[in-house]
């Protein structure tokens, strides 16, 4: 088998669907509501072209509704493109819908025959493969029981075993690897690797980017019915990953702005409510009265009235890109003046584990003020956190460390990052092979 032969040629295909808000397929409805059966046209594919060589594994990625599943359906010929051409060289098998045509009352063995027949195998061909299929499914003892007695895992195992033993030249796979337990999944993957090594062309559609990276030589990223990027899978996956991160930030920003606008429309209500709550209990004004387990505690000689996290956008936000410069601003109000104040902040995990904490004293900075209110800011020059959700903690204490206003859980914030390391912090590093 020539490695350079083309297995799939897709040439400028387009596809649109008619979306009827209210479809009447009956004569009466068609006649009576002629005007109503107006439809919108949704263009799902707007002209995509790609070639796949024999023996290549190609992954299609993109967010929901980008057209990747439609592309796969066009490749299997369940649907046809409106324009453009698709040429498939060789027998096509699809792992799109496993267990098509399974009949619950028939035995596993009979269902193998029915199901394999749907893939276009003749009786003789199925006979020859029956053993492999049964072996692969690990269902030998149950093979003559009706399929309705199978567990869903067994059912999928049987279905997958049939599909993968069809001996196709081109294998189309849509989100398969939710089949069976981990062992069986590994087995499936190994089998797919074998198939790939034997020169079978494989196209995979999945949301699991690591599958694509591990398994595919090439990836094609679709967005809005067009190919955005195509090339070696790690590069495409990275580009897609970045894009999705940006998109998420934008979406969250928009949400936040909306929220902020809402809050602005209803002035003087929600934002400072924690402060008001505690102010209603002024009885605990002495040292012994501090409840250290509370979310907010302290003597209130000085209070933090509001804290802000300001990223590159210049606005108070709760979602940041790793490496972004983030300024934490704390507005304070002095009730009883003290000689000196110590301001601090900390990053915590959602579980309450401290990741990082710092204050003005640790940094050998003295804060003295005779103003009754003001703002202290700290710049985090490049946010070094990995992707995830974190908790911001702000505090002001006196120079003995007695808490004046300690916000254990001021707010949650989210970090998006392209760094896929594990843990919490991004550490600049470089891999080399030294010997």
């Amino acid at each position: 088998m020539e490695r350079n032969e083309t297995a799939i040629e897709v040439n400028n295909i387009t596809k649109h669907f008619k979306v009827y808000p209210d479809k009447g397929a009956q004569l009466k409805e068609r006649l009576l509501f002629r005007k109503r059966s107006r439809f919108e046209i949704r263009e799902v594919l707007k002209g995509i072209s790609f070639d796949v060589k024999k023996g290549e594994a190609v992954g299609l990625i993109g967010h929901n509704g980008c057209g990747k599943s439609t592309t796969l359906k066009l490749l299997t010929r369940i649907m046809y493109p409106d324009s453009g051409t698709i040429a498939m060289h060789g027998r096509v098998s699809s792992l799109i819908e496993l267990g098509a045509g399974f009949h619950p009352d028939m035995s596993g063995r009979e269902n193998i025959y029915t199901n394999a027949a749907i893939f276009g195998l003749t009786k003789k061909e199925i006979d020859a493969r029956l053993n492999d299929i049964v072996e692969f499914s690990e269902l030998r003892e149950f093979i003559d029981n009706p399929v309705r007695t199978y567990s869903s895992g067994m059912y999928m195992r049987l279905a997958f075993s049939v599909a993968i033993n069809v001996d196709a030249d081109i294998l189309l796979i849509d989100e398969i690897l939710a089949v069976g337990d981990t062992n069986f999944q590994t087995k499936c993957f190994n089998r797919l690797r074998e198939l790939k090594a034997s020169g079978i062309t494989i196209i995979i559609v999945t949301h699991d980017l690591s599958t694509i990276e591990k398994f595919c030589d090439r990836a094609i990223w679709l967005n809005d019915g067009l190919i955005v990027k195509e090339g070696r899978s790690p590069e495409v996956v990275d580009a897609y990953f970045n894009f999705m991160n940006h998109k998420r930030i934008e979406a969250d920003m928009a949400k936040q702005e909306e929220k902020a606008a809402e809050e602005a429309a209803v002035p003087e209500e929600v934002p400072e409510s924690p402060a008001e709550e505690t102010e209603e209990k002024p009885a605990e004004e002495d040292n012994g009265g501090i409840d250290y387990s509370a979310n907010r505690f302290g003597l209130k000689y000085i209070e933090i009235t509001k804290a802000r996290m300001i990223g590159d956008s210049g606005k108070d936000g709760r979602i940041f890109r790793a490496g972004e410069k983030v300024t934490i601003e704390m507005d304070y109000k002095v009730n009883t003046p003290l000689d000196e104040y110590i301001f601090g902040f900390g990053f915590y995990t959602l579980e309450g584990e401290c990741l990082y904490g710092n204050n003005t004293q640790l940094d050998r900075m003295t804060v003295k003020t005779d103003k009754t209110s003001g703002t202290v800011a700290v710049d985090v020059l490049g946010l070094p956190l990995l992707a995830g959700k974190y908790v911001l903690n702000v505090a002001v204490v006196d120079n003995n460390g007695t808490p004046m206003d300690f916000y254990r859980n001021y707010c949650d914030f989210e970090v998006v990052s392209d760094d896929r390391s594990t843990g919490y912090f991004s550490i600049p590093h470089n891999w080399r092979i030294t010997k």
Binding site: F17, R77, I78, M79, S94, I96, A100, Y113, F119, G120
Partner: protein, 258 residues
Amino acid sequence: MDTVKELYAYRQMIFSLVKKDLRGRYKGSVLGFLWTFINPLFQLIVYTMVFKFILKTSIERYYLYLFVALIPWIFFSSAITVGAASVVAQKDLVKKIYFPRMVIPISYVTSCFVNMLLCFIVVFAVVIFTGVGVNFLALLTLPVIMVVEYILALGMALLTSAVTVYFRDLEHILGIVSMAWMYMTPIMYDKSIVPDRFLPIFNINPMTHVIECYRSVLYSKEIPDLTSLLSALSLGVLFLLIGCLVFNKLQRHFAEEL
């Protein structure tokens, strides 16, 4: 021609669908497969009563006269009515997996055909036990007639099954059409009593020829009229071609319409 080649490759699927349909049809009913015979037998009894004892037809051995026409007719009418709904009935398959779509109407028509063949066991039993006997030379043409009818039924089923996907009312309309068609075909009466001005309609009806051929082989024990057979065949082929063309054109959007 590619279609034919592909259908040949999927022959196992046709077999297995036919098998599934035949096995599944009377599943759960007490009499099970016997219904295949009981149904036409009761139709036969009812029509015989009406035509023999009430309308007092002069046709000899009317039960046989009717029986040899009724069984092929039941095949044809169920092929178009049940066949029409076939693609819609298998929409889960159509939407989810590729196979030549024609496999579906072909298997439905074939399963109806197998049913007819089984009924013919009863026909032969009647023919032999009542002492009517058979003409073996004429009998040799029987498979040809059956094939002609199969082609005709398949052509109709392809056409109706494809159109039904887009226009679901057709399934119900066909119930009426098939009843009208039955009375427009000389099944319960003889073509000779049809007034001349209606004859063209009867002649253009391919089932007229098919039924007459069956009748000459099994009732009159004669070799059927060749022109009759040929006109049925040519009409059948025409239907099949139209059916294939329409089906192929319409099947491209099945997955979206279902």
